[in-house]
């Protein structure tokens, strides 16, 4: 237990005398039954076996921000970073602001935000490694950096930007609610440091003395239904109808009088000019995802085509699998898939902890996707290997692995789409994510098969023509699916407004020229695929057309997928002018300002695969522990 100093001021102590029974969402504030086995256990903070004497230890707690009072002095952020020893580029709590009006009728509304220790912690459910736990003690959602492998998925799903991915350490960390202070009845450090009587903390739904409001909305704050956050606001002063952000995000907030809250709308702060921005688009840190998703979809598409087509006895597929093309095709597919997986794994903050990706099959779509794709890769590899040998035995084995590959691969693809259906990222949360992924599985798979196999089939004009028609139809269908998705997506983003429309605005301006190029490429590809399927242009021309189609489509989907990753605007809270301003962060990285440590901006880099650490883990983990670990993945303790 930490020591409470003798002159600790009164304002530092928790104040809840009475508490309510239920939260506004209808959940119990008392988080466990009185006889629960979860009670009277130590939190083992730094291996201290003590148990805190806080009378409200098993009640859900939360922060209260009185935005009428916040002056944006950074004391809360500083106290937090001082206590948690965070470097400049990491902050568990940040203050951003929105502003409105015209001088001197000007108003700035500061918003201090950390983790909201949600009732429905999407971070916990998203994390593939199981690094998160929601504790019965205080309802704190805590994350263990020692388990984390630095994929950053929790930072995607959290609507509040609470988990912090450290590009230097390669791991996530976040607000720990200062549970060490709560154990001795002290408020969290940030609250005790507040210089404006703005930030407070207590059992959820309790109102600090002097406050008159306890609401869940404030301009810039996302829909509380996403995660049921345990934060309450007071904001009683009249605000302007329109509140703008000072950071580079093209979003402002407009008061909707019918519901009395602010909704995000597009702020065209960079005009309407269209730019290329190739470097930003293709060189983004997410390019590993572009390569992995496209590569996997291509290989999976080709694989499904070969296996399912084989099962259905499709003439084209049979002619391919029995031709000299088969082995080179499998080889190319293997290389693409292996490269994609390698890129993805090395994109992790801690690549050597890759095996932890399966830990959270219970909740995490990402865990399921990882399991699916891994199963696919295993099935596919077995299929490739045993296809090298002749004989019924090997064929059976190959078919067995093919079955595993088909089932795992399909599941993997399904969850690959699911992981982008994130409420905090409206631009992704649309069925277009699926139409693009499924469409690309079709067209890239068919294109890949054709690109390798067609030259082996040219001896027979008829076989070639048939192959072009079969494969070309799939390419055509895939392209069409993707195009329809884009059209409807664009329309829906506009209708829906908010962050999705903001992303679309950036797509058509910041990346406007690249976006138009993508559209033209997609359209041209579709026409070309249509022509190749519909007209018999002769073998030479068909082959030439095919490779042209390959190049055009790859260019189109590469731009498309890159746009998908760079454009997404999360629902996160507004930043300030420098701090938590994506525009300034990008500027600092481009110009080299980021090389000065005290800028608070660091470069994003890749991390080493630490073989030593992996071996050490293997050495120090007993078979029993390993078995326990695996058991934990599949056997889940029930909780009360």
């Amino acid at each position: 237990m930490i020591k409470v100093r003798s002159d600790e001021p009164e304002y530092s102590f928790l104040w809840d005398k009475e508490t309510k029974k239920e939260t506004r969402y209808g959940s119990k504030i008392e988080l466990t039954q009185l006889d629960s086995g979860l009670r009277n256990e130590s939190l083992n903070i730094n291996n201290d076996a003590g148990i805190g004497e806080n009378p409200n230890r098993y009640k859900q707690h939360g922060f209260v921000l009185n935005a009428d009072n916040c002056i944006g002095c950074h004391a809360c952020e500083a106290a937090c970073s001082e206590k948690n020893d965070n470097p400049a580029h990491i902050a568990f709590r940040s203050v951003g602001f929105v502003e409105g009006g015209t001088h001197p009728d000007y108003q700035r509304l500061n918003i201090s935000m950390a983790c909201n220790h949600c009732e429905d912690p999407v971070c916990l459910k998203g994390c593939p490694t199981g690094a998160y736990t929601k504790f019965a003690e205080y309802g704190a959602v805590l994350q263990d950096p020692d388990i984390c492998f630095g994929c950053g998925y929790c930072t995607w799903v959290c609507p509040y930007n609470a988990p912090q991915l450290d590009p230097i350490k390669g791991e996530v960390s976040k607000c720990n609610m200062c549970v060490d202070r709560l154990e001795v009845n002290l408020k969290p450090a940030c609250v005790s440091a507040c210089l404006a009587n703005a930030l407070d903390f207590g059992v959820i739904e309790n109102m600090p003395e002097g406050n008159v409001e306890n609401k869940t909305s404030i301009p810039g704050f996302p829909d509380p239904e996403i995660t049921r956050p345990n934060i309450r606001f007071q904001q009683t002063r009249s605000t302007h109808r329109e509140m703008t952000r000072t950071d580079s995000t093209p979003i402002k907030y407009h008061r909707d009088d019918s519901v009395g809250i602010f909704t995000p709308v597009v702020d065209e702060k960079f005009g309407k000019e269209r730019h290329w921005n190739w470097e930003k688009l293709l060189g983004s840190h997410e390019s590993a995802h572009v390569m992995f998703t496209l590569g996997t979809q291509a290989v999976l598409g080709a694989f499904l085509l070969l296996v399912v087509g084989g099962l259905l006895d499709l003439a084209t597929i049979v002619s391919i699998t029995t031709s000299m093309a088969f082995i080179p095709l499998l080889g190319v597919m293997f290389v693409i898939q292996a490269f994609g997986l390698f890129k993805l794994n090395m994109h992790l903050g801690k690549p050597h902890r890759f095996y932890r990706g399966f830990n959270n099959l219970r909740y995490s779509n990402l865990s399921r996707e990882i399991a699916g794709v891994s199963g696919f890769f295993a099935g596919f590899s077995g299929y490739v290997f045993f296809s090298l040998f002749d004989g019924a035995f090997f064929t059976t084995l190959a078919n067995g692995f093919a079955g595993l590959g088909v089932i795992s691969g399909s599941l993997g693809l399904y969850f690959m789409v699911k992981i982008y259906r994130i409420k905090a990222r409206p631009f992704w949360d649309h069925w277009q994510s699926g139409s693009a992924f499924y469409g690309n599985t079709m067209n890239l798979g068919a294109l890949l098969v054709g690109a390798i196999a067609l030259p082996f089939l040219v001896e027979s004009a008829e076989v070639t023509r048939q192959a072009v028609m079969t494969l070309g139809s799939l390419v055509f269908a895939g392209l069409l699916l993707e195009i329809i998705g884009h059209v409807v997506h664009g329309r829906d983003m506009h209708r829906q407004g908010g962050e999705g429309a903001g992303s679309f605005y950036e797509q058509s301006t910041t990346y406007g020229k690249s976006w138009i190029t993508r559209n033209v490429l997609l359209g041209t590809s579709l026409v070309l695929a249509g022509v190749l399927v519909s007209f018999d242009v002769g073998t030479t021309l068909a082959l030439t057309g095919w490779y042209l189609l390959l190049v055009l489509t790859i260019a189109a989907v590469t731009i498309s997928r890159s746009l998908f990753f760079v454009l997404v605007i999360p629902t996160t809270m507004p930043g300030a002018f420098f701090w938590k301003n994506k525009g300034f962060e990008a500027h600092a990285r481009e110009t080299g300002l980021a090389d000065m440590e005290q800028m608070g901006v660091v470069r994003q880099g890749h991390h080493a695969f630490k073989v030593g650490e992996l071996l050490e883990t293997i050495k120090t983990t007993s078979p029993k522990q390993m078995f326990g670990h695996i058991k934990d993945i599949f056997v889940w303790k029930s909780v009360d």
């Binding site: 004391a75 580029h89 001197p104 000007y106 019965a136 210089l195 005290q598 800028m599 303790k637 909780v639």
Partner: protein
């Protein structure tokens, strides 16, 4: 756990393993917060926290104080003395003995060649009071130059001058308790949430308990303005007009405190004649505040049971700085609001020990608020120091802002800068560059070797910082508080006290003068000199100060002998009628005619340039620019620019803009905000090679303080943003 893992791992929370907390006083602003520095078992300072039982800050600290333990081993600290004979050459390291010998011989050479006053000393508000006192003794009593001043001329000189003119002495009459007990407060050009957040918190807490009207006078919609009941967005540089108009209404409506005026002031008639010219209609045309508002404010203020005015640089840093302070005092004297709970004129001070240097450094006179102009004071100090009183000048020499022009004209050949950075802080830095180039000998004594002024120095002396040494600061409310030593001086740096004492040893004149080595011994010497003075600290000792988390002066030997517990706060000056420091005990009401001599915007330079502070930075960023968790909130310079003005100029958010004044230009990133009016930009002053390339800094006639906040500029859009970014980046090394 509710859900998540099956097995609970132990929770890891950072434990800094502090084994010892050392009591100190924050070394940033003059709020004077009590701070404890936590050291781990190796003795390394690893943590900071506000002292819970201290009356000033009651456990709180601002963003700077929270990371103050990171200062000790921050980048850019100096390790060894550096020397060179020509500023075009590189430095070489030297040892302390050689450095001090060289310095003493250069001072002697310059003084022998060009006269005693040709060597100037410019000090600071950053040192311990014991160090200021010692430097004063060395400069006035041994080296004997009359061109000796502090950088407080850039921040507090107008307050000093205004207090002296009104009350007969420097010394803020009020205390923080007044800010809680008042019934009405006007903040003149003071943005507490940004500049003095702890004081803001105390007012906020008081107003949450008992609301009283808060009126903020500021051209910008600062956070304080936003939290106020009334915000008066005044035209820059016209505060005196508003003050005159307020008094006009008060007298016109008979709201003045006749009894108080009679018992405490002289000059009422002259004041009445002058303010008669400032009826609200006339005034509103000049200061931009409408006549109704002027009348309203005057009535609220005059009718309040107790009313308080605070101010900071919005008043001090203008051509009417001293007048503005006198104007505040006039307003309070006319309404009987000096020396009573909740009624005061309180200048919210800047540097941690600006007050200490005013009291004890001898910069503008002799220690303990004594004047060079007073023969008795000269005699008393001469006797105490064992220096011939005739050695002292009979009149104060040049102020800091006049020392630089004297260098420019060749009257001053040698300069010693102690913990101040004129290359960033002085207006019109282009002129300062040229000026510094002309020096025969420049010594820079600073904790940081990368302080920009070292570009022009011949000798650099690495000084210990803050809690690497021991001594006292005086804060805004006259509270003497102590900093205990937490760690050894960085590298081979020495405390400023040790440096002064070492230098003193090299002068023959110092042989008969006592220079105690220990801060506590120096303090004791000061307590003797303080007896019977306004600034009486004779009852204090270092230990007693720590025990009480600071003691407000006056605290006399007699008080101490009574053995009563010392009040935590709430001590005021001038609480009895007719106890002001003029010989007749009366305060002066001084008429303030307004002459508009500012550089106001015109067709060529259509924008006001306003400057000011940010909460995360301190002064010229030598400290906070290296603490990432401070610096990151504003790592590069920016300007607040009105979006409507930006639109007309084609400037977008986060673009670099060229700002041009009649002095020069600067490249600054634009933040578009309606916080500023359409014809004004605001630029923080903390950044090197930035806003002070532009400022004019006309001098206040009384205080010689520069008017940083009123200049005219124009803006030019920059086509090549990449080159601008490069240029901006090259101008900062931290």
């Amino acid at each position: 756990m509710l859900f998540g893992r099956n097995k609970k791992n132990p929770i890891k929370i950072v434990d800094k393993e502090v084994v010892k907390w050392t009591y100190s006083t924050c070394g940033y602003c003059s709020t004077g917060c009590s701070i404890e520095i936590g050291s781990n078992a190796e003795g390394k300072p690893v943590s900071s926290r506000g002292v819970g039982g201290a009356d000033v800050n009651r456990g709180k600290l601002c963003v700077k104080g929270i990371f103050e333990h990171e200062l000790f081993d921050s980048p850019g600290r100096g390790n060894n003395p550096l020397i060179r004979d020509d500023i075009s050459k590189g430095y070489s390291e030297t040892d302390w003995d050689s450095a001090m010998d060289h310095m003493a011989s250069e001072i002697s050479r310059i003084q022998e060649t060009y006269g005693r006053d040709s060597f100037a000393v410019v000090s600071t508000g950053q040192l311990m009071t014991e160090e200021f006192y010692t430097l004063g003794k060395l400069t006035r009593g041994v080296i004997g130059t009359n061109n000796y001043d502090g950088n407080t001329t850039l921040c507090m000189a107008s307050a000093v001058s205004g207090y002296k003119r009104s009350f007969g002495s420097d010394g803020p009459p009020g205390c923080y308790e007044d800010l809680e007990q008042t019934d009405c407060m006007i903040a003149w050009g003071s943005n507490l949430p940004e500049q003095h957040p702890i004081i803001y918190w105390r007012i906020k807490a008081a107003r949450d308990k008992r609301h009283f009207p808060l009126i903020v006078v500021d051209p910008r919609v600062t956070m304080f303005a936003q939290q106020a009941d009334m915000h008066l967005a005044i035209t820059p540089g016209t505060d005196v007009v508003l003050q005159n108009a307020l008094i006009h209404v008060i007298l016109d409506e008979g709201l003045e405190d006749r009894e108080y005026i009679k018992a405490n002031t002289v000059g009422f008639e002259q004041l009445e004649i002058e303010v008669a010219k400032y009826d609200p209609v006339t005034a509103s045309k000049i200061c931009g505040i409408d006549e109704d508002t002027i009348r309203n404010v005057a009535r609220i203020y005059a009718k309040a049971g107790a009313a308080t005015s605070i101010w900071t640089m919005g008043i001090n840093q203008s051509t009417h700085g001293s007048d503005g302070v006198v104007g505040v005092n006039n307003l309070n004297l006319v309404t009987g609001n000096i020396g009573k709970p909740g009624g005061t004129s309180l200048s919210i001070t800047g540097q941690c020990n600006a007050m200490g240097t005013r009291e004890w450094s001898s910069c503008s006179g002799l220690p303990g608020y004594r004047a060079l102009e007073n023969p008795d004071d000269r005699a008393e100090i001469g006797k105490f120091w064992n220096v011939d009183p005739e050695f002292f000048p009979k009149k104060r020499g040049l102020a800091q802002t006049d020392i630089f022009p004297a260098i420019e004209l060749g009257e001053i050949k040698g300069l010693w800068l102690v913990a101040t950075n004129p290359m960033t802080s002085m207006p019109n830095t282009a002129r300062i560059r040229k000026t510094l180039e002309k020096l025969d000998f420049l010594v820079v004594q600073d904790s940081y070797v990368d302080v920009e002024t070292t570009q022009y120095a011949h000798l650099y002396l690495p000084a210990a910082t803050w809690a690497e040494k021991e001594g006292v600061f005086t804060n805004t409310e006259r509270r003497v508080n102590i900093t205990r030593q937490v760690t050894d001086p960085h590298g081979n740096s020495k405390s400023d006290l040790a440096i002064f004492n070492e230098l003193a040893k090299r002068f023959k004149q110092a042989e008969k003068v006592n220079f105690p080595e220990k801060p506590a011994e120096v303090f004791e010497e000061m307590t003797h000199l303080s007896k019977g003075r306004l600034v009486d600290i004779s009852g204090m000792t270092h230990d007693l100060i720590e025990e009480n988390r600071g003691i407000q002066w006056p605290y006399t030997k007699e008080d101490a002998d009574k053995g009563e517990p010392i009040k935590a706060g709430g001590k005021r000056l001038y609480t009895e009628p007719g106890t002001f420091r003029y010989a007749d005990g009366m305060a002066k009401l001084i008429p303030l005619p307004f002459i508009d001599n500012n550089e106001v915007p015109d067709d060529k330079y259509p924008f006001w340039l306003n400057t000011g502070r940010l909460v995360e930075h301190f002064h010229t960023r030598t400290k906070t620019g290296k603490v990432g968790n401070n610096n990151k909130y504003s790592p590069i310079p920016f300007m607040e620019l009105n979006p409507d003005a930006a639109k007309e100029l084609g400037i977008r958010s986060q673009e670099y803009v060229r700002v041009i004044s009649k002095r020069g230009d600067a490249i600054i990133m634009a933040q578009l905000t309606q916080r500023v009016p359409k014809n004004m930009i605001f630029v923080p002053f903390h950044f090197h090679d930035c806003v002070n390339r532009l400022t004019l800094g006309l001098l206040d006639p009384h205080s010689r303080q520069p008017a940083y906040k009123q200049s005219a500029i124009r803006l030019e859009r920059i086509e090549d943003q990449k080159a601008a970014a490069q240029m901006s980046m090259e101008r900062r090394t931290y």
